[in-house]
Structures are given as C-alpha cells and as structure tokens.
C-alpha cells in the first residue's frame, strides 16, 4: 500500500526531524511552558497550509482573542485577516464546552465551518482547558471524541497543551490517545542565557530525528536547527559518487556512504571491535573493483586480514595476485610467496626515508597505465605509525601525505585511538579528516557515532548489534 504524502508543517527543520512532515490526519499534542511559542508554531502550520498547499485551516482559541492573534502574527508578516477573506483560514474563539457541543452535534457549527472552507488543518489552543469542564472521566471521553472527529474529517491537527501543569504528575491520558507529542522547552544556556528546544517524543507513522533541537524566532516565524547539524563541505558532497560502506544503516548516517576522494577516520577505544566495520568498508571496495593499499597493523597479519575479508565473499589474495591490492608492512612477517610482490616492506626504513620510499614504490602503481583509471582506496593504521615511528613523525607526515593522496582522488580510511594519542594530536587529526566515525564500548554495549561528515550531518550514537549474515553488524 502506498504511503500517504506527509503534511508539510512549514516550520523549517521540523519536517527534517519528522522525515518529511506530519502523517496526514494525525492528531499531535504540542506542549510547552508559557512563552515557548506554541501559538506561533500552531499558526505557522496553518499559514503554510493556507498559502502553499491549498489546505485551509481553523485555529480555535479558548482564551486568547482573535484580534490579539491577528496583531501578534503581523510581526511575522502573516496577514491572517486577508487569509480569512480568502476563506483559507478561520480564527475562532469560543468556550471549550461550546466547541464540544457543536462538534458532537450533527451539522453543528464546527462541521459547517469545516465544509465552508474545505478545512484540512486544525489547531486547538488549548486542550488543557477541557480539564476545567468536567471530571477526569468526562475529560477523557471528550478529548477522545474530539480526536475521533478530527480523524473522521481527515484533519491534521495540533492540540496545544500547557506543559508545566503535568510536571510531577502521572502521564496525561492524551499521550496515549494522540498520534504524536511535540514538546517545546526553555533550557539554561551558558549560565546567563536561555535556549529554546523542541523534541518530538512520539509520532506514529514516521521516523523521527531523536533528541532536543534548538529553535529560534526569526522575521518569518519559528526556525528549527536540527541538532547535530554542522556546516556542509559543498566541494565534497557535490561529487555525485559516494562509496557504500556495505552497512546500510551506516550508509544512511553518511547520506549514502563515504564520498570518493575524502579522508575518514575510524576512532576506536581499546575495547571496541572495529574489525567488521573496517572489513565491510574494505571488502565493498574490492567488490566494486577498486584497487587498495593497506597499512598492516601489528596485531593483524595479512593472512588474518585476508581471511576476515573472505567472510564478506571477496578474495583479497586474488586481488593482490592480480596486482590490485598492496600492503605496507612494518613487521618482518612471512607471506605466501606469490603475494610478496604486493608487499611494500618498510621495517628497515628510517623516518627520514619513509615518505620517499613509500612514494617511490606506490606512485608508479597509482600512475600505472593499467590501473590509473581505477579508483584507489587506502586504509591507514595510525596506531602502527605512532608505535613504530612516534607521534612527532605522525604530526609531520600525516597532513602532507593525506593531502597528496587526496589530490590523486584516492579515498582514505584511517584507524586511530584518539584517547591514546592525546587531545592535541587527536584534534589535529580530526581537523585533517573530512569525516570521523567513532566507536566505543560503554557498559554492556558498543556504540557508533558519526561525529563529523562532509554532509554536515552528525549522527546520534547508535548501538552496534551483531547479525548472523554479512556485514555481521548493524546499527540500532
């Protein structure tokens, strides 16, 4: 069955948080303390429908006078009286019990107005006042009836609710019967300031970008900045090609994958198992017929590495034999004789000679006629560089080498343990990379978070769960 098109809220950022908008016909509670802008949110939702989507709306206010709302909203450039003249909006004031009476009555005033303007969106300000007109049982029945009436007329609606009244009390019953809950809050910021935050606590029928997001009032209404949004690297993301990591859920966090020609860092703590994460990214490159260069780490031999890659259904040994996979080896470890030509041995190379030796060996390969039209992928183990060549060497060498390889369009994934190398070195490395994927163990779970990416999107922490089939991990 085809999913119905989401209803655009008209509040910049909110549709992103709701992965497109509010599900059509949903009844959503919009709660917040006084001064959080509930009325503005509600009205912006109706103005969007009226002006951009030919979806007329009704704003029902119990306490505030419409004339006050007309005046207040002119500061955002919204001429509500004009929208009323065009039959695209009605700002109605009445008492809660009258609304209820008219809603329950066949052909009552509510139904008449809905038909009169072809209403699609409704805001009720506020359902807290229903608590004044009856005992708990009655209130529950009334709110339940109103929700059903909204559904019957396919009206996408926001029910405004004062938030503070429920603090410390049991869960309000509306939370169970409504389709969504959006909470607006005022939070302390840097001791002296306050920031406004919005959080979607529940929304049936759509995914949500979890967590608190900051919002501000600007000249044309409310503007939400979804959390974990950083500046985009336009130069990188305009490249159409992104390389899949082989893990769908990670590709989603990276807006498709790793952009070709970028440098990504995998930062792990000592307990975290990054083997399957790396192996999935790596094997995907071989699957896509890319050429690879790998810096072998002290605790993983070529055999172990190749065996792990084989679990993903590709043969690293085969790629090496065909001259499409090369290995930088700091340790004197034996390999199968026919793989020796793929090894760049640097165990006896001094720090001063290192860059030169590596370039003399690798540049002809990168530029070789048979392979020059191939895409190259480099995996670099910085823990090995630090342990074998020292931190100073890393700082001197890393940025220069990465920039040279990047200029050749090579995609690079680097592995490191930030906690071990110290804050200063870590922040230098982070600056040099286009993206950072962090994985760590905390308590009983291993987590993964994209903390930097060229798309500017930073993810929330996800739990890494094991799965029986390749890629053997998924993010929850």
């Amino acid at each position: 069955m085809q999913k119905k098109k989401a209803v655009h809220t008209g509040i910049p950022g909110l549709d992103d948080i709701l992965y497109g908008g509010v599900p059509p016909g949903a009844v959503v509670i919009l709660e917040g303390e006084p001064g959080t802008g509930k009325t503005t949110f509600g009205m912006q939702f109706l103005v969007e429908g009226a002006i951009k989507h030919d979806e007329p709306g009704i704003y029902i206010t119990f306490e505030e006078l419409p004339e006050q709302i007309y005046d207040d909203m002119t500061s955002f450039g919204w001429d509500l009286r004009d929208l009323e003249r065009q039959n695209k909006l009605r700002v109605i004031c009445m008492e809660p019990d009258i609304l209820l009476e008219q809603m329950l009555q066949p052909h009552g005033l509510f139904e008449q107005i809905v038909r009169e303007i072809g209403c699609k969106r409704v805001v009720i300000d506020s359902i807290s006042l229903f608590r004044m007109v009856g005992d708990e049982e009655h209130v529950r029945t009334n709110v339940y009836s109103i929700r059903n009436i909204m559904r019957k007329h396919s009206l996408t609606s926001f029910f405004i609710r004062e938030y503070s009244e429920f603090e410390g009390m049991s869960m309000p019953f509306e939370n169970y019967i409504c389709d969504g809950i959006v909470r607006l809050s005022l939070k302390p910021l840097m001791d002296k300031y306050r920031k406004r935050t919005i959080e979607v606590l529940k929304m049936r029928g759509t995914r949500i970008l979890e967590g608190e997001h900051t919002y501000k009032f600007i000249h044309n209404g409310v503007y939400i900045v979804p959390s974990l949004s950083m500046a985009e690297d336009k130069m990188l993301i305009r490249e159409a090609e992104v390389l899949s990591t082989g893990i769908d859920s990670l590709d989603d966090l990276l807006a498709g994958g790793i952009p070709r020609g970028s440098v990504f860092m995998i930062d792990t703590n000592s307990k975290a198992n990054y083997r399957y994460l790396l192996s999935s990214i790596y094997s995907q490159r071989i699957k896509d017929d890319d050429c690879t260069v790998t810096m072998m780490s002290g605790n993983t031999s070529l055999d172990t590495f190749a065996d792990t890659i084989e679990l993903f259904g590709v043969s690293l040994r085969e790629a090496a034999r065909k001259g499409k996979a090369f290995f930088i080896e700091h340790y004197r470890r034996a390999v199968e004789s026919d793989l020796e030509k793929a090894i760049v041995r640097v165990d006896k190379v001094t720090n001063e000679e290192y860059a030169q030796v590596l370039n003399e060996r690798l540049n002809p390969i990168f530029e070789c006629e048979d392979l020059c039209d191939k895409r190259w992928f480099v995996y670099y183990d910085l823990n090995t560089i630090i342990s074998e060549r020292g931190k100073d060497f890393l700082l001197r060498y890393f940025a220069e080498e990465m920039s040279m390889w990047r200029s050749l369009g090579i995609t690079i994934v680097v592995h490191c343990n930030f906690a071990e190398i110290g804050t200063e070195t870590a922040s230098f490395l982070e600056r040099t990379c286009n993206g950072v994927i962090r994985t760590w163990v905390d308590g009983n779970y291993q987590y993964l978070q994209v903390t930097k990416s060229p798309s500017g999107r930073v993810s929330a922490p996800h739990i890494i769960a094991n799965v029986a089939e390749k890629p053997f991990v998924q993010l929850i």
């Binding site: 419409p66 004339e67 009323e84 109605i92 004031c93 009445m94 008492e95 009258i98 008219q102 005033l109």
Partner: protein, 83 residues
C-alpha cells in the same frame, strides 16, 4: 431592571467585539466575561443584535450561541467590466 442606556452601550460593545473578532462564537455568559459586563445586560444586547440580523442566534436560553453575520462589502470594483 436594566437601564435602556446600558443595553445600548452593550450593543455597541458587542458589535465592536464581533467586528474585531468576526469568527467568534459566543454564549451570553462567555461574552459577558470577555467584555467584563453583567450577563443579564449582555444577553439583552445580544438578543437585540440578533433581532436586527447583525448576529445569528442558534439555540435558546443560556446555551444560545451568537455569531457575527458580517455585512457584504465589496472593496474592489473592476470598472472595465462596465465598458
């Protein structure tokens, strides 16, 4: 006994209220609270406005609701239409 002058004053206030809030739907008790006037006088004023077809009245007694019947006003005339 309600003084006639009070009812006339209330008629003015009610008309102004509905002019400024053309889609308000009110009972006499609700509007008397919004205007800060006694319900008895407000009800009389509202009934008179309903008799004059300025307001539309639905129902009877305390539950009767009143809404504005906005006069039809044409604000723009296309003179070319009469050529």
């Amino acid at each position: 006994m309600v003084a006639e002058s009070d009812v006339i004053t209330l008629q003015m206030e009610c008309t102004l209220f509905f002019e400024n809030n053309p889609y308000a739907i009110e009972t006499s008790s609700g509007l008397s609270k919004r205007l800060g006037r006694s319900q008895q006088v407000t009800e009389q004023a509202l009934n008179r406005l309903a008799e004059m077809s300025i307001l539309e009245k639905n129902g009877q007694g305390m539950r009767a609701i009143y809404r504005y019947k906005a006069p039809y006003i044409q604000t723009e005339v296309d003179l070319n239409a009469y050529d």
